[in-house]
Amino acid sequence: MPTIVFIEHTGATHRVEAPVGQSAMQAAVNAALPGVLGDCGGSCSCATCHGYVDETWLSRLPPAESTEVDMLDCALDVKENSRLTCQIRLTQDLDGLVIHLPNSQI
């Protein structure tokens, strides 16, 4: 099972195992990580699952589709490496993916 490394804004690091096909958001919610809400259940409707993908991984993800891009445009504290974690589906290739979490989603 691939592992995602979530790093809270405090620096606290969590290694979360999650099955292939699950979204990074759901993995974070299942691990009860502070900093990820995912209120719309992953339907790209709320931007409360916002995370910052580590630079070393950013280009290895499939690019964001237009709905995600549009939602992100108006999310809180958006940066170059911002992604909506509900749109990141885990594959074995993404084992070790590093995602930084914001201080707050709202």
Binding site: V29, N30, A31, A32, S43, S45, T67, M71, D73, A75
Partner: protein
Amino acid sequence: MSSEACAIIVGAGHGGSELAVALRDQGWAGRIVLMGNETPLPYHRPPLSKAYLAGEANEQSLLLRAEAAYERAQVERWFGVRVEAIDRARHQVTLSDGRELQYHKLALATGGRARTLPASMLSQPCGNVHVLRTLADAEGIRKQLSAGARLVVIGAGYVGLEVAASASKLGLNVTVLESAPRVLARVTAPEISAFYEQAHRQAGVDLRTHMQVEQLEMDSQGRQVQSVRCADGSVFPADLVIVGVGQLPNVELAQAAGLAVDNGVVVDEFTTSSDPDIVAIGDCSNHPSALYGRRIRLESVPNALEQARAAAATLCGKSKAYNAVPWFWSDQFDLKLKMVGLSQGYDQMVLRGEPASRSFSAFYLQGRRVLAVDTVSRPQDFMLAKRFVGERIEVDPAPLADESVSLKSLLPTSH
């Protein structure tokens, strides 16, 4: 905070599940017992009319959070049991299996149930007639979805239209019967209703408005419905009937316990009911909206989650008023409808973009105030709409309709 204290949460849907973990997060040191009358772990309801019917989701993939998350938060789970009564004087609940449990604090997150057809229309439960609220309902429906089958949907609200869209994509012959003059009459402007009626018809759905159902007619063995007869004499053959005629809040427990109930369990802005030791959240709650200056009951996942967070704070002795902007979403075909606010009382609706492009927004104004916005496949407008509505930003209609003027530029620059 006593580690002996016990918080009982009645209802394990979106609100109950969120409250259970948020309560621990907020510092509740005692027992947290989450009770629900459904058997599965708490799950996402919105996909039941969409991804689940399409076969793209299952019980496991629908879970709100993995079992381990409740374990980690030390949330006890009593599922598949119904709370039958609350004795407020004794701070005790009684369950359907006879068990009793004392509480220090109680949360009602009982949600709602699907309204069923009156007996005059359908005199007995029937294997091919379904409502859609629970996973069990969706499982029953999914088994009967087969290409070429004739589906009659009664009610063109969100549930009815989403089911119609899903079924039509699966190759069923779909008829939608709506008694009102237009679809989504309760929640949107006539122009939006017209847009959705056209979208469904274009996809091959036989959508009839002004159509009052009179009776579901049984087959010769009296076991399955075979057709739906309407007041004007039309008869629609049906292999499957799905009823989406609204939701009734589950307030009976609160009512019997003597709590204030009026279109939901009446609570204040901190989610506290007429009993200081009881909160109520989500679809079952009637709460004050500072934004609209009236009490409202919302049937909305985001509302359930936000009220859950407010209730967790309240139960832990913190005062955090709940005043989130209502918002909702509905996915039908490729159309992503996202709505902000409540439009009742609007005096002008301004369209931004062309409905024919299948990407546009509708702003509901009261004077210069934006009461609500419906966005169709316009996520940016949706996100900005939350600010227009939430901050009561005043605008002139002309720039809203003018796509060469960015919505962002209409926001006050002090933010």
